[in-house]
Each structure stands twice: as C-alpha cells, then as structure tokens.
Amino acid sequence: MNKALAVLGLIIPLTLLYIIYTGSYSLFELLLGVIVAIIVGYLFADAVVKHPGKIYNPIRWFWLLIYGLYYLTIIEAKAHWGVIKLIINPKKMNPGIVRIPYYVKTDYAAVTIANSITNTPGTVVVDIDEKNKKMYVHWIKIIDTTDEGARKHVSETFEKYASKIFD
C-alpha cells in the first residue's frame, strides 16, 4: 500500500522529466511517460519516498515554493555580496571550519540544509555526522566559533524552511 502510494506520487515528477527530456508533447508521449514512470517507480520508489503522505500535502509544496524564491533571490544575493566584499578587502577573511548542529528528522531536510549551505558562496559543508547530527562547515569569515552561534549565522533560516518542507 505504502509502495503503491509512493509510485503514485512519483508519476507526475517522472512523467514531467520524461516529457522535458523527450521534447515532444503529444498525448501518446504522455501515455508512454506515465507507463515509464510507473515501471521506474516500481523499481525504486520505496527508496526515494518513505512517507508518501507528504507528497500530497500542498502546504509543503507552498513552503518549497516560498523557500525556493527566497533562497534563489535574497539569500543568494546577500551571500554573493558578502563574498564580493571579501574579495575586494581580503584582510577581513577569517577562514576555518565550524561545527553546526541540526535538529531536523528526515534525510531530505538535512540534505536540503547541507546543500543550501554549500550553494551559498562563503560556506561549504565538508562533512556530515549523521549519528550526532552535526555538520562540519568551512566558513570563509568566521563570526562565531560556538556550535549554536555558528548555526545562528549559517543555517538557522535554512533549517526553519527545511523542517517545514520535509519534516
């Protein structure tokens, strides 16, 4: 039952991928895409989707949209501007690796945080400790070396949205 729901949830994204890759939009292609999506879903869906109910929750999709827009415009611009300032005035650079804890439950939320950190210029996730829920982040300009302090500066916003989307 769980797997059937997972396959059902994957049909739309996988069919969309099929249509985009094919580049042709007839009804026949759509039908082929759905068949392919069902077969691929049957092969792998249970590995990708653990809680199918979450796919059908529009509030999560809403937060994903909001986060996507907010991240790609404001957060990215701010981070880029910070690094531009450092390039112009490298004396202020203070690189090092900080340890940042995270409190989300699911894998997807943790990966969203980690990739959000890596994708903003200036911070890179070097390693992740799943057991103790800690990330090791290389930070180009360390402001706070304590765990919680670094988390407040680097990943608190990401974590807020990630838990709303995936947890």
């Binding site: 994957l10 996988l14 991928l17 099929y18 890759y21 094919t22 007839s26 009804l27 026949f28 039908l31 082929l32 895409g33 392919v36 999506a37 077969i39 691929v40 879903g41 092969l43 792998f44 869906a45 249970d46 590995a47 990708v48 112009i88 005035n89 490298p90 004396k91 650079m93 894998d107 997807y108 943790a110 990966v111 980690a114 990739n115 996730v125 390693d127 992740i128 799943e130």
Partner: protein, 277 residues
Amino acid sequence: MAEKTGSLRDISLAVLASLIIILFAIALVNTMTISIPPQEQHRWLSWEFLTSTYNWAVKKTWAASPEVVTSVLWDYRGLDTVYETSVFFLAIIGGLMLVRNYHPGKKYSEKGMSLIARTITKITVVSVPVVAASVALHGHLTPGGGFQGGSIFAVASLLAIVALGSGFLLNRGWSKSRLLGFRTLGLIIIASVALTLPVIGLLDGVKAYVIQNQYKPWAPVSFGYTANIPFLGIILYSGTLVFLNLAEFLAVSAGLSLAFLIISLPREELKKSGGIE
C-alpha cells in the same frame, strides 16, 4: 599574501594577467585554429543512406525510420547487431562463470557514502532510468536507441552500487539469476522478431529474410510502419526497429547492471567461496 593584499601591485598584476589571457585567446581564435564550415556536400555513401532510409517514394529500399543510424544498425546490417548482442551476452556469461561458486548470504551491506551523497544519488537513480527509457523508446526517431538507453540505465545501477552500496540493488531483488533472466528475455525477443517474418514467409510460401523489416517487391512481408491508435493519432513505429530497440534496451540494461554487480562483489567473500585464490 595577506599583508599586502589590495595593493596597487596586485591589481596591476591581475589586470596584466587578464590582458595576456585575452590576447592569447584572440590570437588563438584568429590564427591558430582552422574553422570547420558546416558541410554542404554529402559523400556518396551518406547521401545513399540519407535519401533511402525515410524515402516514402522508394519504399523498396527504405527502413521507415528518419533516424539513419538506427536504420543501419537494425535494418540494413541487422544480423550483425544481433551477433554483437550475442557476443555481449556471452561476455556476461563469462563474467558470471568467474564467480560461479559465490553464493552470498541473505543480507548485503548498504553502507555507501555520506548522507548527502546517498540522498542525492537516490534522486538521480530514479531520474536516470526515465531518460534512458526516453532514449530507447525514440531510437527510431531521434539519435539514440536500445544500446544507448541501456548504457544510460546502467549508469543508474553504477551510481547506486558506488554511492549506496551494492546491497541497495541486491537487497531489492536484483539477483544474478533475475538479471540474467531479463538479459535472456531481451535476447529471446530479438531472436523472435528476427525470425517472425521468415516463419510467416514459410507459411505463406513467399520469400522472406531473417530480420527483415519492410516490404520488398521480391519479399512481400512486412512489420508495417505506422499504427493508427484511437484518440492518439497515427504513430510511426518503424516496423521492427522499435521492438528491437526495446529488447536491446532490456538486454543491455540488465546485462551491464549485472556486470557492474559482479565487479562490485567483495573480494574477501569471493575468496571464502573458493572461486578465486
């Protein structure tokens, strides 16, 4: 470096370096490279194929497919491709022979890379087969085909083996015998498609060739080339090409995945089973 940063010297050095790079680039583009104009004339061989594979006016030499490479592979020299597929099959069998003594336990290790790599790889592993299927299903229309699609599919298996541990595939039932079964099924479909028209020809008492695709005046049997499906319109499927592509896709996907799984078997356990020294 840190104490004299931002000084005039650094800036002038940076400007100088970028100027040199730009000058070299311009010099390279203008003098050293030979520009290759788009070819306007075809050689006779390519002209022959380009004007025959999808020529609706001369149906005795056509393959009913606008994709020349697939037409050559599965129609004009179809038997050759069948043999190639068989050779590949034998190579897989040979690989299996090397590990024939290995009878692994119930549970396999699913220890892969870090959480980030594993999660992203899972998303990739469901996306890659969709692209592979698209490449294989349109092999008779656009560049691609069964072997290409199967190779793309095998990338998903390889990614899963490396990033998620070979246990990810083995624990969900991708066993040696099952993959070999799909490999064999693909080959059986290819063989039956190749032999369908000769059998029909034999029954009807007309001439027909092994792995024949389209109607010939002297061999009047054919797989057809378009299908009129209600609500979906007229679909061009190019006779045998789409079936052969699908069978090859199945065979290559299963075969290459099996090869990667064999390669990923741990050496220590192979030693224990006595297959290798």
